[in-house]
Amino acid sequence: MAVEKRVVFRSAWLPWALIAPQALVIGVFFFWPAAQAILQSVQQQDAFGISTEWVGFANFQRIFSDPSYIESFKTTAIFSLLVAVGGIVLSLLLAVFADRVVRGALAYKTLLIWPYAVAPAVAGVLWLFMFAPSIGVVSYGLRQMGISWNSLLNANDAMTLIVLAAIWKQISYNFLFFLAGLNSIPKSLIEAAAIDGARPWRRFWTIVFPLLSPTTFFLLVINIVYAFFDTFGIIDAATEGGPGKDTAVLVYKVYYDGFKALDLGGSAAQSVVLMAIVVTLTVIQFRFVEKKVNY
């Protein structure tokens, strides 16, 4: 390992002054709400905040004894795995194709990036319209083909709908990173392998994919966090957690219990649990998966 270069700031206050605005934003928008969630999770309040009662871990006990909460762990695990793996695989495929294309490359790349600009709620509504059992264009097509589609009542159909919408939205982001990653692989390596007689499939798995591993690892972390949190807008617009509670992922339950059911203590307890899960997942990923990454 080379000796680390250290930059020394001679001024005692300048570094703090430069960091201050960013630290303030993080403090106000991340740490303060997180602290408040932890505070509210050990309290039982009425909706208007007029009476506050300390209840210790009672909220946590209550949520863990609720079978629908345990159920939503399973739902969230299935959902985030499908979204993360599906999103990464699809965008890798598209990036590899886009990399090989010569004519119209710019057009493909532009079109593939556009979905990222769509707001999550809008994406949810878009897909809802296409797949709505009574009026959707795609549902009509499916019915013509003899496939019955009812995302209002069929849990698998509803899950398919939100997974599709969530992947669609995230493809652009993954695609961009994969494309950049592919571009950074030296052409000489690939050419050398081609000269040695390696077929494209072999070239991909032995050279391209390992060299893409930092990107893939990064995107895995980002996609899992995305599936846990940013998909709320899509789920609320498309299925509202239904049918029953079959698409109620953890973050949706937090919203529902806090804002519709006005159970602020329970909702805060769920947020704390959710925060702990994502932090743990990220730590695990950095500790164990990163070891496999070749930088």
């Binding site: 909706a47 208007f48 905040g49 009574s134 029953g244 519709k260 059911a261």
Partner: protein, 437 residues
């Protein structure tokens, strides 16, 4: 001399002029009425503002009922509540339990000195928003109830008599079968399924939805809608669903749009849907009372109130409350009430307004427009006065979820209702614990 006089007069004029301009107190009104109903709200505010100069009511659309309630709560916590908040009937227990957050309407009206007679309000409507001690807590505003709409053109095409709507559930099933045979993909659907098929259904048949007079008697009430009659009804709906006669179109009022569009031929929905139906339906439609089971003694009784009421938030300056009282007085006047009722399909809240509408011949010219009113004015028993339960929104969602399992064919009616009662009772226990006072 002349110029000095001119200056003095101008100064006085400006002082007085400026004084009157500042005297108008703004009353903030947050509501959940969108579309044609939003226009109705704006017209009400405009009418009031033009009728006097002291106060100006400013209505603001805040989204759906739950969104409006959440916005009101958040604003209150931030010390920035509106003067008037429209809260749906499901949120009544929550509002009633937060004694520090609201000022009872009875108190506001009494303090203002304006004439206020609680008995002039239709008892089934006002009773719902009245405390056990008789004080009116909120002002009924858009009170609806559950009624039955049907597509007369579709009836004709199916060989049914369009002037004879089905009166019993057996007749509904028969009509649905004929409609399906004539090519209707969606013979019957329902909006607000818990409200129409369990809550109102129970009251209509004088059967308990929950103990303690459906929750009116205290927070220790518990759910009872898994009784034999309700199980029978959900079983019947399940059978209809299996044959494609009853098609589930989603939660809350998602099914509303399917009737005026012609997609579904029969629907049990809110009386407040009438405005949208009148505006958008390109076919002849009819209104009828909610169907019932004729072998149940005492049926039909009356149906349960829906819609929303206006709550007055606490912590506002005294002159705001005078303005609120004056606005409520305006809203309750027979002319305004009668016009609102005719325009929207919501119930007239005072008996005087009902009589005025009746004497104007409106009901003769619009047969079916008095269905909602008749359903609410029949004699009430302690089982049919209305439902007031804590955490009611969660309970309704629980009912939606469990019934969805029935329509999807994953659960039987009795098991689903039993599960809903168990889960719902947990919510009631939690509400009781959180509001021990």
């Amino acid at each position: 001399m002349k110029s000095k006089f001119f200056v003095i007069t101008t100064t006085f004029a400006l002082a007085f002029g400026a004084g009157t301009a500042h005297a108008q107190t703004e009353i903030q009104w947050w509501h959940a009425m969108g579309g044609p109903l939003g226009e109705w709200v704006n017209d009400l505010a405009k009418g009031y503002n033009e009728s006097q100069k002291d106060y100006k009511v400013v209505p603001t659309f805040k989204g759906s009922y739950p969104e409006t309630l959440t916005a009101g709560i958040a604003a209150f916590r931030a010390g920035n509540a509106p003067d008037i908040l429209q809260v749906f009937e499901v949120g009544t227990a929550t509002m009633m339990a937060s004694k520090g957050a609201i000022v009872p309407v009875g108190k506001v009206m009494k303090d203002s000195g304006l004439p206020f007679d609680p008995t002039s309000y239709v008892s089934a409507v006002a009773g719902y928003y009245t405390a056990p001690n008789g004080q009116m807590l909120s002002m009924p505003f858009n009170s609806s109830t559950t009624i039955f709409y049907y597509n007369k053109d579709a009836f004709k095409a199916a060989g049914l008599d369009p002037s004879k709507p089905p009166a019993t559930w057996a007749e509904v099933a028969l009509a649905a079968a004929k409609l399906k045979a004539s090519g209707q993909a969606c013979p019957f659907t329902t909006s607000w399924i818990s409200w129409t098929q369990l809550e109102s259904f129970s009251a209509w048949h004088n059967v308990e939805f929950a103990t303690k007079g459906n929750g009116m008697g205290g927070t220790d009430a518990r759910l009872k809608f898994n009784g034999p009659l309700q199980v029978r009804h959900i079983q019947d709906l399940e059978n209809m669903a299996k044959q494609g006669l009853f098609v589930y179109k989603g939660r809350d009022n998602k099914a509303d749009a399917t009737f005026p569009s012609g997609e579904c031929a029969m629907i049990t929905a809110s009386a407040g849907l009438l405005g949208a139906v009148k505006k958008n339906a390109k076919f002849d439609f009819g209104i009828a009372p909610l169907p019932y089971y004729q072998d149940v003694p005492g049926a039909p009784q009356n149906t349960v109130i829906g819609g929303a009421s206006l709550w007055v938030m606490s912590g506002k300056p005294a002159d705001h409350y005078k303005g609120v009282a004056s606005f409520f007085n305006y809203l309750s006047s027979p002319d305004v009430q009668s016009a609102s009722h005719k325009r929207t399909g919501y119930l007239p809240i005072t008996t005087a307004a009902f009589k005025l509408t009746d004497s104007s011949g409106f009901y003769k010219q619009n047969p079916g427009a008095d269905v909602a009113v008749n359903q609410m004015i029949r004699k009430t028993t302690d089982k049919s006065r209305g439902i007031r339960l804590g955490n009611f929104l969660q309970i309704r969602t629980i009912i939606d979820e469990e019934l969805e399992q029935v329509w999807a064919g994953k659960a039987e009616a009795k098991a689903a209702l039993d599960k809903a009662v168990t889960r719902g009772n947990e919510q009631l226990e939690r509400f009781q614990a959180a509001n021990k006072s």
